[in-house]
Each structure stands twice: as C-alpha cells, then as structure tokens.
Symmetry: C2
C-alpha cells in the first residue's frame, strides 16, 4: 500500500491507491485550507508534491510555473505511489493543536452485503421469478389456467401457493400471449411453513427484471433504495425530507396534529407523498418501471408507521405510552397511496414499543446483534434517537427525543447528507480558516449531521466556542460575527457556495445540536445503568443514522455524543433502518428473525428512570459538566490544545 | 292423522291437521276449478263438506244458504278432523283421466338444517363473536393494544390469529370506549391449521348481533339469505332477477358481451347491483345494519363467478373450454361493489369446470352426496343446468345449457317463484278449466318453473297440446286461441289477475320449456352412459333449482324432464346453491370439504359425447320420441287418458 508523508509535520500514513489526498489529509489530522467542498474551484488546497507523483491534481487555478514546481490541488489529487506531500505555510497548523483531530473515522460495517450472503449460501430473495411452461389445453386436458400453472410449478419442485387475485386475472391472457410460457413473480412467506404468494404473471420470460424497494420512513428524512433481486445489488439510493415536517418537527407535534379534523388523513398523505417523491426520483434516474417492483419493505419508528398506516397514534403520547400493535398484516403498497403497482406487497417492520419502532428492529436485524455473543450498544442517531443494548441472549432498548439536528433539521443551513452537504470540516485553530469536504465533492449547499459534529469538535479545539456552545468573539478570525439570528460562524463565503449566500452556523444551531447529543448520551447512560452495566462493559458500539459516508468517532466523542471508548470498538452502518429493510428483501430467511427480535427486546421507559434528567442536563455542555471523569482524554486534549494555541500565538 | 275422503271419486288420503284443502286435492289428483291462485276471491273452488268439519272456508262469495248447507271454498279451508269432501259437478272430472295427475310431490330434504347440526354437535359458525376483557395498561404493563387482546384471547383458549387492518384501527378506541371490554368478530379458517381472522372490534358486549349472508348468483336469478350465526336460523330469504339479462339470456351471450369495450366492467357492476338490490330488500325488511353482517358466501356458476370477480371469461366459451381458476383467494365483499361493510369477508365457492361451477359444488355439499354410499343423481335445474352423478367414492358431472325457462325467463308471463307466481296447476280434461295455486296464495301475476311443468303435464293429459308441444284447436275449451305471439292458452283471465292482463302460455313458451327439459334429459342420460350406468342403477335423484315449494315429480316425469323411476327415489332440496352457501356459514368444518368435492369430481364435456345430440333431439317431444321404451308408464297413462276422454265425450 502506498505511503504518504505529510511535511513539515513528518506524519506518514498508508493509503490505498486511488485515495483522495484532501480526504486522506483530513482523516490524518492534517489541515489543508479548502472552501469549495473538494470541487477544485477555490484553489486553496495547494500542496507541494515531491519524492513521487500523485494522479491528477492539475487545475487552471495553478500557474504553469507552479505546476512545473510540483504544486497540485489536494482535492483533485489521488494517491498512486509513495509520495511526500508538503503543506504550504498558509494551511499548516501546529502539530500539537491538531492531535485530537487525527484519525477516528469509524470502521464501516459491511453487515450482510449481497456478496457475503451469496458466499454464505444465504442469498434467498423474498421475491423471485420463475419461468413456467405447460402443455396447451385440449378437450382431454382442460385443466383450469391456475391448476395448469400450479401443476407445472409442482413439477419444478415449487409448492404451497396462494395466487393473488390480480395474478389470476392476468393468467389467461399471459398463458396465451406467451404461447404457454409465462413468468410468475413469487413472494416468499415469512415462515417456511407459510404459503408462497404469486403476485404477478407475465407472458414469456421476464426473469431479468425483478426489483424490490427498501424504504426508511424517518421523522425528518425519507430514504429509499432499489434492489435487484436477481443479483442482490443496490441499483440506487435516494433521500428526501418527510413533508410531515410542516405539521411539526417531532413525533409529539405530529401526533397532536392528527387530533385536528382530517389530521390523520393529511399526515398519512404527506408521508406517502414524501415516499413517492423519493421513489419517483429513483425510478426516473434508473429508468425503471413500477411494474418491475415486486416487493416493498418499510421500516419506521412507531409513530411514523402508525401515521403511514393511518392508525390513530393518540395513545402513543399519553402515559402509559401504548402503541396500537407490534405486527401489521401484509398489505398492498398501493392501498396506502404509494405510487407502486397494484401487485406489489408491502412488508411493514414491527415495533417493540411506542418509542422503539420498526426502524430499530430493522437496524438490529441489519447488524445482527441478536445473534452475536458480543455485548453491543446500538445507537440510532435520528430525530427519534434509539438505543439498544444486549447480545444474542437479551436485548434492552430505550428511546431519546433528539430532535432533527442529526439529520440537518432545525439547523439554519442544515440539509440531508446528499450532494453538496458539508460532511467533514477541519479548522486551523490559529486563523480559524476551515477545510471543507462535501458529499459528492460539489460546491457547498449546506451542512449535514456529520459535518455539524465535525464543525463543533473543530470549534472546541480552536477555541472558537466555549463549553456551553457560545461563540468566542476574542478569536482572531473574522468569521465569527453577529448575524440576523444572533452570533454565527461563516463556514463558507457565498462566492464558494452553490446557493449564493454565506453558509453559517448560528448559536441556535449549536443549541439544537447540544440538545440532540445530550438526549442520546443521557439515553444510553440511563439504559446501561438500568441494566446494571457501564460503558466499559461494552465490546462494540454500532452507530446508525442518516449521516454521509461515515462519522468521525473521535469528534463525536469530543462533543460528548459518544462514550469515550477505544475507536476500534465503534462500527458505523449508515442508515440501519434501510439496511434491515434491504436485507429481508435479499435474505428471506431473515424475516422469521424479525419477530424473534421483537419478542426478545425489553423496553425501558426513560421518563421513569431517576438518573435520566441528570445525565441530560450535564450533557448540554461540551463535552459534559463531568468531563474530567466521563471524558478524561477529551478533557486533557482540550487543555493541551488550549496551551499550545496560547504558546503558538505568543510565538507569533 | 285426519282422513279426508273426496267424493264422488271415493279417494281417501291422510293429511296432517292444518293442510290446505285445495293443495291437498291437487296433490291427490282431485281437480277443483280455481283461478285466483288460492286467494279466495274467484269463488270457484266450492266443495260440499259432510261427515265432519273443516277449519275456515267461509267467504262472502258463498250465500247464507250455501254456508248452511256445508258449502266451503277449498282454498280457504284447512283439515282439522276426518271429513268427507264432495267435489261439485262443475269441478269433477273422470277418475281414470286423472290417474296420472295424482301424488308425486317430491319429498323435501331437510339437508343439514340448523337443528340437525346442533343435535349432531356440528354447529360451528364460520363467524363467531367473543367478549374479551383485559386489565387497563400501566407503565408496568404497557403491552400494545393488539398484544393485550391476543393475550386475553389466549387465556380464553383462543389462539392463532391474524388481525385485519381495519380491526387493528378500531382496537384503540374500542378498548377505551368499552372500558377494557371489547367484542371481537372472528372468522374461522377453512382448515383447522389456518389462522383465525379478527375482522372487527367493537366496544363492550355486542355478541347478540352476528349475521351472515348466503348468496346464489344465478344466470337468471339472484337469491340471498340472511342467517343468524348465533342461533343458526334463517332470518329471511329474497330473490330477484340478475340484471345482466339485458346483456343476454345465457352465459354465452354474456361472455360475448364482455368482449365489447368496458363490457366486463358493466357486467360485473350489473351482477353486484342485482345482489345489492336483493340484499337491500332483505336488510330493510329485517331492519338490519350491514355492520352486523360478518361473513358473505357466494356461489354461482363458473361464468357468473368470473363475471362477478371481473375475471375475463373469454376462454370459457372457446374450445377446449378452460376456466381461469377453480379456487379464489379470500376477498373483501366491498371491493367487488357489494354494499356490505368493509370488514365483511367474502367466500367464493370454487368451480369444477367451465360449465360446472360453484353453485353445483355448493349443491353437492348441501345434499352431502360426496359422503353418502348411495349412488345419487343430482340435477340442478337452472338456466345453466348441471348434472352430477356418483357417491362417496367418485363424482362425475356435466353441464346442460337449458336456457332460462325453469326460472321463468324467456316465458311471456314467466316469473321467479315469488309471491303471485302460479306454482301448481291442474286442468279439467273435459272442459279445459284450470285450477291454479300461486306462491303466497295471492292473485296470479305470472308463472314460475314448477307451474310451467305442471301446466304442460296437464295439457298433455287433457289433449290440449300434441306430442310436439303444439296447441290442439279441436279441444272444446275456448282458452286456446290465436294471440299476438301465435297460438296460446289462457291460464287466467285478466279479471282474476294482479296485472290486469290475461296470463297465457304461448307455443313459443312451450318451445323454450321443451328445449330446457330436453337439454337436461340429454345431459344426464349422456353422462350416465359415459360412466357406464343406466337410470335404473340410481338409488336417489336429488333435484335442485329455484322452483317454488316443490316440484311435482310425476308431472316432471310426464313431460320427460325426469327419468321414469319410483317417486320415492326423488328428493327436492330447492335452491342447492344457496343451501351449500348457508351451510358453510353455520358449519365451518364443512368448508374443508369443499375442496374435496372439487378434487373428486370429474367433468364430462358433453359436446364430445356422440349420443348427446340424439338424446336431445328425441327429448324435444313430449315426453320423448322413444316414449314407449324410455317412459313406458307415461306412455300407457297418456293412452289411457286419451281413451277415457274419448269415452267421456261420447257419453255426453
């Protein structure tokens, strides 16, 4: 693996060929100024290449002379061999000050991807297509069309069917148009003892087109994924906001909104419309027909699920917080206003409790903690944060109302982790100049959850904010200013953005993030206490949420969101809800495990836990009021950074 | 049992107290003129009572003097004790001539009525209600609403449930409105291994209201019955015409009509509307709410079933006559435009073949021939006539396109067997004067299938028609005349009708009846030949059809519709399709037998049978061209009647 040495710091790291140099620097704790998000247009991320070559990196922003002298733009360069990268003086910052910014990106779990499933012989899609051929009827063989089909399937070893009405309707035409060869779409049962459902019949051989969609209906965001049930591959992923937001930002206000006349209907329609918008974008981009979507799987928290299914969620918010149901009978996607074909069945993930829903069940399934002996903490960082702890023998869960900050909601320039979202940031503590990386390396449009966490961590190390999240106007940077919403920090000036406005973070934004991380921290601490464990008993922490590619663990620890544990204990799985939904499209045998997860999970009602509020109020500081005992390493690093900053300024 | 002697014939019969005297006379082969259908307004059915008394029989139509002399109207009299009934000269006819008119009403089967089912411990309604009580939730017991319900049911010994979406939606409100007592409506599964479906939840105890409807969707007529699932009783029965008739009288023309743009939709809607009309009449009369109907069961022939389910019936009429399916998945009644509540499931009887449908399966189930060792012939006399022969070991079936005559269709004054329909007739062979009995003893409105058969048999004996069904203008009666549709016989003059027009039977009507009976006769003869049996092997003949109370067997034999066998071998079950549909509402265990019947039944395609056309063309005569060999007794009786008529006329 090629070695890259950053000078003058003397830091050497290994990186696979093809690694982007700006990303590598950022992950290695090397700050390089950059404001265009990695698109190569601001021209700030200049580095001097020596002792080797990098791929690319040449730009109009560099003069002929610079290019000849080995100057390259880091954001456009990729590692191809051993190389020495010189960081110019305008980017370089003090070694010591950056100690805490180094490394720490969570390992990304490849939990049950299609390759693994196939290798393990566990790839059995919930929706399969079979070509069936039968002899033409005659007076001697006038079996009905359905019987002819089932007899032919039996000869192929396929039994125990129920044929949907629509499929029965299609069959006579399909048999004859296909000259007694048809393709049937079969949806497998949850339990091996159940019946296979024939949901569609087409003339001839159409086995090449067999798709499924996995849907995550979040309080703030909606994600969907199109899967090829033949190959198991993800054909596309797309997200959007849940337009129910106009009825309130959290589940409680949504539930209240259903109490108005026609409220439940409006919220159901808003949820369906939000999903439809995401699906339509996906289908248009991938040039797909809804006729080829043979299964839809939806996971959401309990309130989102009940709203989508038009089930009055009133009692979710009233003590003792009783949801209507855990399991839902199978339904047709189109009967809930989803723009999918009439034949497409919709599988809805079951819930554990009023505030621990199908999204968590899906996440637990996705990461497989219900079958693992390791004691694991699972954190789903969403508007409704959820915490699960346990292993193959037991699972306990609790919910935290985090608010929408992790998903870019309630943040002035917040956005989902989609193209143009600032997903990583580092800041030169001396000058306050940021280095910005965006999703898709486009000009910045806004900031997503992982960018927010990175920004706050960088602010802490650079002395830009104090421990209560207020801006320090004494800092030499002129990026701190009074905006129309109060004190703010300019992340990107308008000329380097897609939106033509300065992208800032306000103190109100910081407050929202503090409340979100405080709620999560208090939830898992109280839950661990409730089951008689401490964070040091944990063998593994799995993080899920609609962040970008990853979340920087050390920064998340630094702000007090995650417990101070060795970074190798952390695994990031991205959108856990979507992961589980995808899995049961591709590995039908896992569907039987869903019920097992629900039954083995005990819900803890945190409002009844005496320590919860103490943890929460302490967590509204950075990293925590009890930083010295709960976050000793962060506490030391912050002090060291403060000292070295002071020394560096004095030296100037 | 009281004895009644008719004089001057000297015929003595026994009859239960309460028997109507006109009915008794007619069944005993004693002719009494009567034209008002038994309503007591024509005053023609005068009899002289001596040696005892009858109940009633007094009318304004009788003078004080007559009354004192023991004159009574037969139609208003009932048997109460031994009595001698003198038939006045204007009614009396020659003994010998009437020999063939005597007796022969089929025994009416009480196949599996609710009393029998209860006695046998086999009364287990497919839809049951259970009152469920549960503890109020608390923070310590925050089970979801569905779980709370299922746990409580489990304590009652009820397991294996699937809860319908609508029921889940109703549950939260019902629990709380009913103060943690609810009533659940459970529909039992077909197989004991299946799941119970909870289709409805109501607050409190509503167990007293639990109804089901059985529906027979015929080509010409629609019948429905409301059943009380608690008591098993029939609350009401109602019939109407299938308004699809405007698209053609038989299934072939209906199938052709679906080929026009929008045709299938129109025919589906017509079927649903026809059923809705009958149901509405029933519900209004019984003052029922559709919310209390918890199950609907529909039986119809294959074409009617496919049309109702909006499944293209095109291939039913094209060789090799392949239907789409035998079995249909469970559906909601309301999704097929039936005016029933959303929660009401609809069970549709499966078909055997394109021309042997769910109505026959239902009939076979109703009479239990699939479990009986006796070799049985089952005849369903409808527009689509069906024939089944076999016993507990095997069943063979065939279909006959009889046309609508048996149901009063295609007959100028034809009507269903509802109030005012002439259902029985006898005729004085000398004068041609008829005695008329109507359904409900109302003034005549028209004639139904059983009346038609009785009329033709009486015409034969009286020499009013010849063996090819043409009127004999040499007969002394002036009721034979040339009408606007050709030769006709006046059954009732307009002054004695409800409709203010003469009710007649035209030669075209007789032609239609001849074709209907010919098709039925040819069908069972060809089927018996196909399985290597003769009519003399039969131990039992079961007749089904939408006739009135009964069908006179000897008359049906006389016209050549039924085989010449001892009358005690015949059993009449009325509407067989409705009977089976009713049974599976009340005896859920019988549902599993439905599939058994379908699987054990072999369909014979009569068009492929060489002898079929010969039987048919021979059957277009009265009783048959081969009368001497096929109907020797009828042949003799007709000859005897002819001779004695000749003698009687000569004597005058």
């Amino acid at each position: 693996m090629p070695k890259v040495r950053f000078e003058p710091m003397g830091k050497e790291v290994e990186a696979p060929a093809g690694t982007n140099l700006l990303d590598l620097a950022m992950e290695s704790g090397i700050h390089i100024n950059a404001s265009c998000g990695g698109r190569g247009v601001c021209g700030k991320c200049r580095v001097n290449i020596s002792g080797g070559e990098v791929g690319g990196g040449v730009s109009e922003k560099l003069s002929e002379k610079d290019r000849g002298a080995g100057v390259r733009l880091a954001c456009k360069s990729e590692v191809i061999q051993d190389v020495v990268v010189g960081i110019p003086v305008e980017s370089a910052i003090d070694k010591v000050a950056l100690k805490a910014l180094a490394g720490g990106s969570a390992r990304i779990a490849r939990a049950y991807d299609e390759v693994e499933l196939k290798e393990q012989g566990r790839f059995d899609p919930a929706s399969v297509k079979k070509v069936v051929t039968a002899p033409e009827p005659s007076l001697e063989d006038a079996r009905n069309d359905v019987r002819r089909l089932l007899d032919a399937l039996k000869e192929m070893g396929e039994r125990h069917f129920v044929v949907d009405f629509e499929a029965i309707r299609q069959l006579p035409g399909a048999w004859r148009d296909g000259n007694w060869t048809v393709t049937v779409t079969i949806v497998r049962p949850v339990n091996p003892t159940g019946r296979n459902r024939i949901v569609k019949v087409q003339p001839g051989d159409t086995t090449d087109r067999n798709l499924a969609v996995a849907i995550d209906l979040g309080t703030t965001t909606v994600w969907a994924q199109v899967l090829d049930c033949n190959s198991g591959k993800i054909l596309g992923t797309e997200g959007g906001f849940n337009s129910q937001i106009s009825h309130g930002e959290d589940v409680i206000s949504r539930i209240i909104a259903t109490g108005k006349p026609g409220g439940l209907k409006r919220l159901q329609e808003a949820a369906a419309a939000s999903i439809n918008e995401v699906l339509e974008t996906l289908f248009n981009r991938l040039e797909l027909s809804i006729e080829d979507i043979n299964l839809a799987v939806l996971a959401g928290n309990t309130t989102m699920t009940q709203l989508f299914l038009a089930m009055d969620p009133k009692y979710i918010r009233l003590e003792p917080y009783v949801p209507t149901a855990a399991y839902y009978p199978p339904v047709q996607a189109s009967s809930f206003a989803l723009h999918l074909a009439n034949h497409t069945p919709l599988v809805v993930f079951p819930s554990v409790a009023s505030y621990v829903g199908g999204d968590v069940v899906s996440g637990v399934l996705g990461v497989g903690m219900h079958k693992d002996p390791k004691l694991t903490l699972f954190l789903d960082l969403g508007t409704n944060g959820e915490v699960v702890v346990g292993n193959q023998d037991w699972l306990a869960c609790a919910a935290a109302s985090a608010g929408p900050a992790f998903e870019g909601g309630g943040i002035k320039y917040g956005m989902r982790a989609s193209a143009g979202a600032i997903e990583n940031i580092s800041i030169n503590p001396l000058t306050g100049e940021p280095s910005i990386v965006t999703v898709g390396r486009q000009l910045p449009k806004g900031i997503c959850g992982s960018g927010l966490i990175a920004a706050v961590a960088a602010f802490m190390m650079a002395g830009i904010i104090d421990e209560s999240g207020k801006y320090n106007f004494d800092h030499p940077t002129d990026r701190i200013r009074d905006g129309e919403d109060g004190p703010e920090f300019v992340l990107v000036y308008k000329e380097d953005t897609q939106i033509g406005r300065d992208i800032t973070l306000t103190e109100l934004d910081l407050d929202n993030l503090l409340r979100a991380k405080g709620a999560m921290f208090a939830a898992f601490m109280a839950l661990l206490e409730g089951v008689g464990l401490s964070i040091h008993d944990l063998e593994r922490v799995i993080l899920a949420g609609g962040f970008g590619q990853s979340i920087n663990i050390e920064r998340a620890i630094m702000i007090g969101l995650l417990p101070e544990l060795p970074t190798e204990k952390f695994i990031f799985v991205g959108n856990g809800s979507l992961l589980g939904a995808r899995l049961i499209c591709l590995a039908n045998h896992l569907r039987a495990e869903v019920g097992h997860i629900v039954e083995m999970t005990t819900n803890f009602e945190l409002s009844a836990h005496p320590g919860y509020m103490d943890y929460y109020t302490g967590s509204l500081f950075l990293p925590h009021t009890e930083a010295k005992t709960l976050f000793p390493q962060v506490y030391n690093n912050l002090n060291e950074a403060k000292e070295s900053l002071k020394a560096a300024r004095a030296a100037k």
